[in-house]
Amino acid sequence: MRWGFGRTRYSISAGLYAIGTPSSDSPVLVTANYKMTFDILRRDMHGHDAWLLVLDTKGVNVWCAAGKGTFGTDEIVRQVQKTRLQQLVNHRILIVPQLGAPGVAAHKVSKACGFKVVYGPVRSSDLPQFLANGQTATPAMRRVSFTFKERLILTPVELVSMWRQTMWSVLVLFILGGIGIHIFSFTAAFNRGGAAILTGVLGLLAGAVLTPLLLPWLPGRIFAIKGAIAGLAVGFLGVILLRDSLNWLNSLALIMAVSAVSSWCAMHFTGSSTFTSPSGVEKEMRKAIPAQAAALLVGGLCWIATAF
């Protein structure tokens, strides 16, 4: 599942669920119908009694669904009414995960269905302590983190999300690789195209695996620059390792292409990160994309020139 295969079908039915043996005084936890979210919540609440009000977020996690508005005020009100929650519990409190807040207006929920929204912790693993503290979160429970481990588990899905671009690139590189003094040769397509594809894979690994892992230590704040630096390092390393079989044109092509691809992939990691703003990403992209295109063009021209 962490690779993203079948992720869009990985959902459960919306509605009301029970953890343990809840009573009419037990807390009501609101969540999304992404199965991974639901399973982690159940695991973290093991041994406690609670009601789970699962919203229909089309199988998307709480934070992303809140960004789209599917985890939101209207859906909460709809599920509260559909499940007749007011007849089931004595209290009038909904515990909503804090990362659902971008889609929810607490005061509007309360006006529409009489239930008061209390924002719970960011991580469901803090829920037992949050409940034990009388439904209050410590400042640490309210902050989003982005640790090495959290970045590591995102890299597989990052690679898979690039597959469509990768397939097109492979095709184009084979065709371009075949062009040379013989006009077109299949041997050249495999040899030169293969080398170019390996270059692309190096860029992909530098930008979508190495950059996320080394994120805090790569210089600068701009993801595209972090990726370009990782790509430059990998490209130089490649040139040093292959110094006997590369001339200066090949070497320049390798370094330019790896840096450009790495920078592009790193820029896309903004979407997986927890601390980027849309205004910032747009600003970064307007500057980075022309530079990436220029580097790729220089690299590509050098590579094609080596065929003649």
């Binding site: 992720r7 607490a106 601390f275 703003s277």
Partner: protein, 95 residues
Amino acid sequence: MSNLRYLENVVTLELDVEKCIGCGMCAEVCPHGVFVIEERKARIVERDACIECGACAGNCPVEALTVKAGVGCASAIINGWLTGEEPSCDCGGSC
């Protein structure tokens, strides 16, 4: 907490102190500690940590906060450019 920071002076977050009633909802929902409540008023203390998620503005009962909310995601913004619509992360798989 990790100290990863993004670009400076880009976010669209604005607080109208006149309207603010100091209820503290913004400080509660913000995942990056942008706000503190002092003398019954909210104050922006970590402006550059803001990710423009829109949670504070949506949960402010007196509409004292405005922000051009969205997702900080390159794929979403490219989608927005290509389709001419607001950026969204309906990119099939990744979000």
